[in-house]
Amino acid sequence: MIDIDVENLRIAFSGREAVKAVSFHVPAGGSFGIVGESGSGKSTVLRALAGLNQHWEGRISFGGKPVGAKRDRAFFRQAQMVFQDPYGSLHPRQTVDRILSELPLVHGMGRIDDRIARALDDVALPQSVRFRFPHQLSGGQRQRVAIARALIAEPQVLLLDEPTSALDVSVQAEILNLLVALRREHNLTYIMVSHDLAVVAHMCAEVGVMQNGEMVEQVSTEKLRRGAVSHPHTRELRALSVELEEPEELPL
């Protein structure tokens, strides 16, 4: 298990600051949620952490070791990312087997067959999907394949970018349950980005709220549930979520 520490992270695109001095800490084996609206910079933070964007300033360290703009090969085994849209993140002309074997091949990992079989087991997919193409699977199954692809690297950190927002609520429940179970079984540290406060609260112990590139508040899920929040934006997001959940509880 490793912890993640982010200090004064700044990211600018052609002079325009998208992320303004964001700092947070995720304990080893913990889970941290980032919520915010589109354009608030939440995914930009996640992409910088994953090493997908090299133009950032500040300090990012995984397990106490600071990482630079360019990461070494070991880093990409240690941290894996799951993307929002399982329709877009899987190669349409590759079988599940091919998709899952890519990473072990790149990293020179042995026993690829066993690894794929185990990864499919981990995400509760039948072995029979192994030689199917993504278009032959449902949205939920595809997202499971994407999670299996992340797990096959035996990572310690999973970076989840809206992993369920393209799915139906019934499928969302299955994927969220799966992610909760995997974190326990594999001792993973999670950072999850979502616009859905209820989803983040279900998954994470602590939540950071972003607005216009700033992390305006960090609050424990327990406080968030009680409504013990200080920033107006957090309060607004919470009120919207509660209003839809239980219309009678809040006066309109």
């Binding site: 609206e37 589109s38 949205g139 139906d168 609520v169 019934s170 969302q172 429940a173 299955e174 969220l176 349950n177 909760v180 616009h195 859905d196 406060l197 209820a198 989803v199 609260a201 279900h202 899920t221 968030l224 549930r225 607004e236 997001l237 919470r238 919207l240 979520s241 509660v242 209003e243 839809l244 959940e245 239980e246 219309p247 509880e249």
Partner: protein, 277 residues
């Protein structure tokens, strides 16, 4: 009765010569009220609404005992007749304004075009009317916005523009197919409130199609829950908490809740029995 659909079936021919039915005998009635249709992807909710305006792909095979809009028989209507209904008497709002607006024309000219198509009049009148319509959908400084292009405005603003275009001919029915799923939570609330106000003010009927059960029950009078081409349950929105069908209950149950935390989310167990009926 504004809309009457009896026993609607929509099927698509399969490669092996069979027919795959996506909508299996749906009946709906709508007056001047707000009806929500909820269901998962593939449940047939959008197809049902599109059948009402004859907007289905040509290979779709539609049969029904009756489809009528304000007494007009849609099944027998010609394309020419349909043009008198589409846009003019029944407006349609789609999910993502990014794809439904023309990217190379200014917003003002698109709204003006829609107004002029239905109402006639000079270019100048249309332009003024467009600005007035943009104002009605609560766009601040509508004159400025009318000169901008779709890529220059936000998603919420784009959706307001779509609503403005739809309002031009004063329709009697509004069909909104996932109008806010591409938008942020705060914007979603604003747009839904706007639709709600306009519908109540003008006495329109509303069919709101969404996968979001809480959202629909919040803004509609009545909710129809669709599963695999059937309406499995139809109930007053206020009665949602007392839904009887296991599918509706399952959908409500499997959502994570901010106020009532749970260790594990109950997973919806699909019963093959639901497919019969």
């Amino acid at each position: 009765m504004l809309v009457n659909i009896e026993n609607l079936r929509i099927g698509f021919p399969t490669r092996t010569g069979g027919l795959s039915e996506a909508v299996k005998g749906v009946s709906l009635h709508l007056g001047q009220e707000k009806l929500g249709i909820v269901g998962e992807s593939g449940s047939g909710k959008s197809l049902t609404a599109r059948a009402l305006l004859k907007l289905l792909p040509p290979q779709a095979q539609v049969t029904a005992d009756a489809i009528s809009f304000d007494g007009i028989d849609i099944l027998a209507a010609s394309e020419r007749g349909m043009r008198q209904i589409r846009g003019k008497r029944a407006g349609f709002i789609l999910q993502d304004p990014k794809y439904s607006l023309n990217p190379v024309k200014t917003i003002g000219s698109q709204v003006a075009e829609s107004w002029r198509f239905h109402k006639g009049g000079s270019r100048h009148e249309a332009r003024e009317a467009a600005i007035d319509l943009l104002d009605k959908v609560q766009i601040r400084n509508p004159r400025e916005v009318s000169k901008s292009y779709p890529h220059e405005v936000s998603g919420g603003m784009g959706q307001r523009v779509m609503i403005a275009m739809m309002l031009a001919p004063d329709p009697e029915l509004l069909i909104a197919d996932e109008p806010t799923s591409a938008l942020d939570a705060t914007v979603q609330a604003e747009i839904m409130r706007l639709i709600d106000e306009l519908v109540s003010e003008r006495g329109m009927g509303l069919i709101l199609i969404s996968h979001d059960l809480p959202l629909v029950s919040h803004f509609c009078d009545r909710v129809a829950v669709m599963y695999a081409g059937h309406i499995v349950e139809e109930l007053q929105a206020s009665e949602l908490a007392h839904a009887k069908h296991p599918y509706t209950r399952g959908l409500l149950n499997c959502m994570p809740s901010l106020i009532h935390p749970r260790d594990e989310l109950p997973v919806l167990k699909r019963d093959p029995e639901w497919l019969k009926s």
